[in-house]
């Protein structure tokens, strides 16, 4: 691989930073294959889609704030919820994690100079940007943007029920972003398997990297199915393929099967990266190793495995799926998810917990995700799903989940922003963002559980005064205003940090994984030197040699390890040892 050949020989004594060859400024942003530049491009693009989708959500909440509302026409309302869901799911939550944060952070966490396939990585970004823009272009067509819901159920999505260019742009856009995601998955998996620094064994990888590996594998399982289903849908619309049409011998419910075979793993493609962020953040701000590291890894893998066999819990009310099987599989996901919860709590247990903004967001994630998790177990029960399917109960459930993920995204953003920019974000503004977002999320979405139980269906553009939905909808809409201010203060925060920078230093959080051993922002090809990797926490071991991990939880052995001054006593989590006693080593393999 050319990357390895190009790598400079760096000496321990006087490392010279490698100067990046090539253009600077705007040209650099559009021509770079550096994972850090691409990662930033992804993050900023995804945040712009987040702001667009968020504005649509505010319009939706404004419409529903009063009964018999005529703020938006039914047609516009249908467009708004379709595009809100599509932008958030396909263009924000996924890309910001596997395209943005993971792209930037994973090579750094495993001590690699770049992703395995830098040009493919750039292609992923441009496909994503092209696809995302294409979806938005639907608003400029005469027939308007797609309005068949983000799930595009057949046969509502055929050319008779939703004709026009907007829905076609939606479909082709998702084919492009589908390829983008597949290429990113390939890149992540290859990078993590083949570009780990010497000593970085699998069981020494940070949980974020572990989760990105599993996410990459899930992407490779789920996205090809979805992308091909979209091509089938396009063929139905334009070539009369009749794959999802009863009239030609097709099966409409096949679309639901294919869609949710992607759709449920997609939930974990969205969630696992953020589980990883939260895990690492909690450990750093509790000054402790991750509790039950290997249990955590196996929990992640079993969640991923189970997620491929639960898709029909979205289809309980179709009457054509095997209820007990999909119900049991869905219930089973609660076990590894529970393990994760106890791991997170165990990591804080007897720790030294500091409430900087990333940690507040991580705790907010725990509290909110629990609501989404418990309501999720209820929905895994077919009878309860019969009563609540397609109501605001489901809307509330998955918004508890995704808003928890958004909080985890903010945890990651506040945590890594210093690494990406070399500047700190303001703590005061960050905490204001957190409290507004945490309270706003619960005020907005908790009343929606009750609305669903009272029988309010989802995706309705209006309701009557006599339906009894008014008060709860008002509360929910008021909550969305808090969320607006949370995001506004966050934007002000980035603006302040841009105009009045506070230098971050290499490791402002006293964190433990490899990205914190290099400069902020890291140089081209990331590292001048790498500390020895003998545990999950190479940087921590370097900075706190007397506080290494206590193996097997035996205090006596821990004391022994501490007194020996590290170095020779191996405290590895698994038996692998490269046997190299040198404290730092160069990058030349």
């Amino acid at each position: 691989m050319t990357l390895v050949a190009e790598r400079p020989v760096v000496f321990d004594e006087s490392p010279e930073p490698e100067h990046e060859q090539g253009p600077s400024g705007f040209l650099k942003w559009i021509t770079s294959t550096d994972h850090k530049v691409i990662g930033k491009n992804y993050t900023v693009t995804a945040l712009i889609f987040f702001l667009m989708a968020g504005s649509m959500a505010l319009l939706i909440r404004a419409q529903l704030a009063s009964p018999d509302s005529t703020l938006l026409s039914q047609h516009t309302y249908n467009e708004m919820f379709t595009m809100h869901g599509s932008l958030m799911i396909y263009l924000f939550v996924g890309p910001v994690s596997f395209g943005g944060l993971a792209n930037y952070i994973v090579p750094l966490q495993i001590g690699a100079p770049d992703m395995a396939f830098p040009r493919l990585n750039a292609l992923s970004y441009w496909l994503y940007l092209g696809g995302g823009s294409m979806m938005m272009l639907g608003f400029l067509t005469t027939g308007s943007a797609a309005d068949f819901g983000w799930v595009a159920y057949a046969p509502l999505s055929n050319s008779i029920n939703t004709p026009g260019a907007g829905p076609d742009l939606w479909i082709v856009a998702l084919v492009l972003t589908g390829f983008s995601a597949i290429f990113t998955g390939v890149n992540l998996v290859s990078t993590i398997y083949y570009l780990r620094a010497p000593g970085m064994t699998m069981f020494r990888m940070p949980i974020f990297t572990w989760n990105m590996l599993v996410t990459g594998i899930l992407i490779l399982i789920a996205f090809p199915v979805f992308t091909s289903a979209l091509v089938m849908l396009w063929c139905d619309r334009h070539l009369g393929a009749h794959i999802f049409e009863v009239s030609g011998g097709g099966v409409p419910v096949l679309w639901q099967d294919l869609f949710w075979f992607f759709g449920h793993p997609e939930v974990y493609i969205l969630a696992l990266p953020f589980f990883g962020i939260v895990t690492d953040v909690i450990a750093v701000f509790s000054r402790k190793p991750i509790f039950g590291y290997r249990g955590m890894v196996f929990a992640t893998i079993s969640i991923a495995a189970l997620s491929t066999s639960v898709w029909a819990h979205h289809m309980f009310t179709t009457g054509v799926v095997l209820l007990p099987f999909f119900s049991l599989m869905s219930y089973l996901i609660a076990v590894p998810t529970g393990i994760k919860f106890f791991n997170w709590i165990g990591t804080m247990w007897r720790g030294s917990v500091k409430f900087d903004t990333p940690m507040l967001f991580a705790i907010g994630f725990l509290a909110t995700f629990l609501i989404g998790g418990v309501s999720g177990i209820m929905l895994a029960s077919p009878p309860i799903d019969f009563a609540t399917h397609d109501t605001y109960f489901v809307v509330a459930h998955f918004h508890s989940v995704v808003m928890a993920l958004v909080m985890a995204a903010f945890a990651g953003f506040f945590y890594w922003y210093p690494k990406m920019t070399g500047r700190m974000l303001r703590e005061g503004l960050g905490k204001a963002t957190f409290w507004l977002m945490f309270i706003g999320t619960n005020v907005t979405f908790d009343p929606q559980y009750l609305l669903g139980l009272k029988g309010m269906p989802r995706r309705i553009a209006e309701y009557a005064a006599g339906d009894g939905f008014t008060t709860l909808n008002r509360i929910s809409s008021a909550g969305s205003v808090l969320l607006f201010f949370a995001v506004l203060i966050f934007l002000i925060n980035t603006f302040v940090s841009w105009r009045k920078p506070i230098p971050a230093g290499d490791n402002p959080w006293d964190a433990s994984s490899l990205e914190w051993s290099t400069t902020s922002p890291p140089p081209h090809h990331n590292f001048l030197k790498i500390p020895p990797i003998r545990s999950q926490r190479p940087v921590w071991d370097h900075n706190h040699p007397e506080h290494r991990i206590i193996e097997h939880d035996r205090p006596r052995l821990g004391a022994l390890a501490a007194s020996s001054g590290g170095g020779t006593v191996l405290l590895d989590d698994i038996g692998f040892d490269d046997g190299d006693p040198v404290e730092t080593r160069d990058l030349d393999r």
Binding site: V246, V251, Y293, G319, I339, V353, S375, S381, P457, D553
Partner: protein, 265 residues
């Protein structure tokens, strides 16, 4: 850990007090169910919510405890660097497995009850969803349609009405007797949803769904299309009126006379 155990016991006591003290199961905002099928769902819902709340309160309690008790007081003091505790890990893996086993058992019991079909229903109604309305065709023993209630033409209907207002169709069920619904769609996927019955089912092209309603409460109950089906999805409303069997017979008779005379197209 003593604190924890005391805390868990305390939450359990509260849950029990809630349940036993009230004599009836708490609703937590849901409908109790106006059919026997809906009541079976409600029982499961109520118990699962209690279990879910107990678990949630315990986990929230643990999070809160960890956050408060282990907040950083002395920045120089480093916590002990332990990373696992095998017995604890086994316990928190095993307990959820047991909980799931129990709720799965009751879930299957409830769903079998809800999905069961009686061999000889008192009435049979063919419900058809279309953009954007419903038709309710009453069938005789031979499957021949003898009466019809459907969304008034022309569409789109009046905006922002209540499901029970007269612009929307209302079908009738006999109280205490089992009616079988034969659910279909002629165009896209619709959701046949009666909140008070705790039940919804998709009406899909190419698929016929059969299910039973055995109403236990008389009254008028609103219904919606739950599955998004295009432009006027919000307007696809209907209602159901549950009446005594004798009243039902009279109603059905007059409707079938009307239908036979061609007054209903």
């Amino acid at each position: 850990m003593g604190d924890l155990r005391r805390f868990a016991r305390f939450s359990l006591l509260i849950a029990l007090a809630l349940v036993l003290g009230g004599c009836t199961l708490p609703t937590f905002g849901a409908f109790r169910g106006a059919t026997t099928q809906g009541q079976a769902e409600f029982k499961l819902w109520s118990w699962m919510t209690i279990a879910g709340l107990v678990v949630a309160v315990i986990v929230w309690g643990l999070i809160l405890w960890a956050v408060v008790a282990y907040r950083r007081r002395d920045p120089d003091k480093m916590p002990r660097q332990f990373h696992s505790n095998l017995p604890v890990e086994i316990i928190y893996t095993a307990i959820p497995l047991i909980i799931i086993g129990v709720i799965f058992f009751y879930t299957v019991k409830a769903e079998n009850k809800i999905d069961a079909l009686v061999p000889h229903p008192a009435a049979m109604i063919r419900v058809t969803g279309f953009q954007w309305g419903w038709s309710f065709g009453y069938l005789d023993a031979q499957g021949k349609q003898i009466a019809l209630v459907e969304t008034a033409q022309p569409r789109p209907p009046v905006l922002a009405g209540n499901p029970v207002s007269p612009e929307y169709p209302q079908f009738v069920l006999p109280l205490g007797e089992t009616t079988q619904i034969v659910l279909q769609s002629v165009d896209v996927v619709h959701g046949f949803y009666i909140p008070a019955f705790n039940f919804s089912r998709y009406a899909q092209p190419g698929v016929t769904n059969n299910f039973d309603f055995t109403p236990v409460h008389a009254g008028v109950f609103p219904g919606h299309c739950a599955q998004y089906c295009g432009l006027y999805h919000s307007e696809m409303l209907f209602s159901v009126r549950v009446v005594k069997p004798s009243v039902f017979e009279t109603w059905l008779h007059s409707e079938s006379v009307r239908y036979a005379s061609g007054a209903v197209a």
